[in-house]
């Protein structure tokens, strides 16, 4: 994967990104209504509350949908690659990639893996369950 610029962070999302250095996937949980959400926000999308804490996310998810990108968005990007919307067992959906040698399909179970970034952080991705 080629990423031109360093991925930005902000004061709310930085702790989430720091956990990726230890390959820990977190979701943000609401202390009032219990909703799990991603990306981390200042307010809960369920109740508007601001008592939000990062907690460990399950490693499993389900492919909601996917697409194989055949045309590169920039000259230095290698194609093809597979993008997907994966629904975590905790509820939130992530835009992510499917990696590994398998034919994806909708509603397929997948498991977390990581794509390392040059600065030590990592991007959550998913692969077929063994």
């Amino acid at each position: 994967m080629s990423i031109d610029t360093e991925i930005p962070v902000d004061e709310v999302t930085e702790p989430w990104w720091e956990l990726t250095r230890q390959r820990r996937l977190a979701v943000q949980r609401c202390g009032v209504c219990g909703l799990a959400q991603l990306p981390p926000r200042l307010l809960c999308t369920g109740c508007g509350g601001d008592e939000l804490e990062l907690g460990a996310a399950g490693r499993r998810g389900i492919v909601d949908s996917y697409t194989v990108v055949h045309r590169a968005p920039a000259p230095d990007v290698a194609v093809p690659y597979t993008l997907a919307r994966v629904r975590l067992v905790d509820g939130p959906i992530l835009l992510t990639r499917l990696v590994g040698d398998f034919e994806p399909r909708c509603d397929q179970p997948v498991v977390l893996t990581w794509l390392p970034l040059p600065d030590g952080r990592a991007l959550p991705a998913f692969t077929r369950e063994l």
């Binding site: 994967m1 080629s2 990423i3 991925i7 930005p8 962070v9 902000d10 999302t13 990104w17 991603l38 990306p39 926000r41 909601d64 949908s65 996917y66 697409t67 194989v68 990108v69 055949h70 045309r71 590169a72 968005p73 920039a74 990007v77 690659y81 993008l83 997907a84 919307r85 939130p92 959906i93 992530l94 835009l95 992510t96 990639r97 399909r105 909708c106 509603d107 970034l117 991007l123």
Partner: protein, 368 residues
């Protein structure tokens, strides 16, 4: 119903070699000529954030009392129809011009990856995966659509084939002289973001246009039969690709239902559907969400005519299709569209979609 569309015109379309600001001025002049009005009659002006109304007003020597320059993708012009009706009813302006133009083909300015603002959550959580924007979102919607209803790429290809057939009857269409398209042609075209191939995607052209609105009372003294704004509705659902719970429940449904309720009409009353077709999947899913046909059946739709110009797929797509959807509806409701005229067309539904299915606006127009 107190406000009508009285003027409608396209600027040059295709590969024009012209700059956007001059295409915009050309569109305004043509729409005013069509309306039988002059520049000095205009006191309301709306464009998009790409070429703000402030800029266009200066270019035209106007000091308008009502302007808007929102950033809501292609839905913005259907939304402006509603805003212009409200502004005219409130006495904020008497004659409103809504105009759009792009030189994206001549300027080669379209980028497959889109442009992410570094300040948005998507720049952190989506752009790093390198989606094509907006294409990959519609591709995932198409994949989910095919999976859910047991369809295949050939079913979506029929949408592109039908669009081409309509463009062949429209001399203004970019693909007018390109000859008919077959399902096999669409399937054989290179994949861009599966299951969508190049012929499942809209054209990239220069183009645009303008429409003119004023009170229905004044409209009755102008050259063309007025086209009244009967009702409108809007919906905004998401900005990020990961946000929607269900890719197949789109903002089209809520926006359309609001417009039908406001207009006191239903799908059976509609003679023409003008629907944003940036990608083939948008048409069947849109028809279903608007209530014209049951889920999963839209690709075989042969009812009320859709996108009589040939649409974004074969007529032209200057980045934001919204204003062109209204222009064709107005022409059809006036009559006189030649070989593509829908006989006796009286009521039209126009639906604009912006971003990645993010913002929606629906307008229902009727020959007054």
């Amino acid at each position: 119903m107190t406000v009508a569309v009285v003027g409608a015109a396209e600027c040059d379309l295709g590969h024009t070699g012209r700059s956007a600001q001059h295409l915009l001025a050309q569109a305004v002049r043509r729409a005013l000529d069509d309306a039988g009005l002059r520049l000095c009659d205009v006191d309301g002006l709306a464009t998009t954030s790409r070429l703000p109304a402030t800029q266009l007003a200066d270019q035209l020597g106007l000091c308008p009392s009502w302007t808007d320059s929102a950033d809501a993708g292609a839905a913005v012009f259907e939304r402006y129809v509603a805003r212009a009706v409200q502004a005219i009813e409130a006495g904020q302006c008497a004659v409103a011009v809504l105009a759009y133009a792009s030189d994206q083909r001549s300027a080669r300015s379209r980028r497959l990856g889109g442009g992410y603002d570094r300040g948005t959550p998507e720049a952190q959580f989506e752009q790093p995966y390198l989606p094509l924007w907006p294409l990959s979102y519609y591709a995932m919607t198409a994949r989910r659509y095919l999976h859910t209803y047991g369809l295949d790429r050939g079913d979506l290809a029929r949408v592109a084939v039908a669009a081409r057939a309509r463009a062949l009857a429209n001399p203004a269409a970019f693909r007018h002289g390109a000859g008919p398209l077959t399902v096999d042609d669409v399937l054989a075209a290179p994949l861009v973001s599966s299951p969508l191939g190049t012929l499942d995607c809209c054209l990239v052209t220069d183009g645009g246009g303008a429409i003119v609105l004023t009170s229905l009372d004044r409209a009755r003294h102008l050259p063309h039969p007025p086209v009244a704004v009967l009702g409108y509705g809007e919906a905004v659902t998401h900005a990020a690709m990961a946000t929607p719970e269900d890719l197949l429940t789109t903002g089209v449904a809520a926006s359309g239902a609001r417009a039908f309720a406001h207009a006191r009409r239903e799908p059976a009353d509609v003679d023409l559907i003008q629907l944003n077709d940036s990608f083939t999947v948008s048409v069947p899913l849109g028809l279903e969400q608007l209530g014209f046909c049951p889920p999963g059946s839209g690709a075989a739709w042969a009812g009320t005519p859709v996108n009589t110009t040939g649409g974004g797929l074969s007529y032209g797509h200057p980045g934001q299709l919204g204003v062109l959807l209204v222009i064709e509806a107005v022409r059809q409701l006036r009559g006189g569209c030649g070989p593509r005229q829908i006989p006796g067309a009286r009521t039209a539904l126009v639906h604009g979609t912006g971003g990645i299915g993010s913002s929606h606006a629906t307008v229902i127009l009727e020959a007054a």
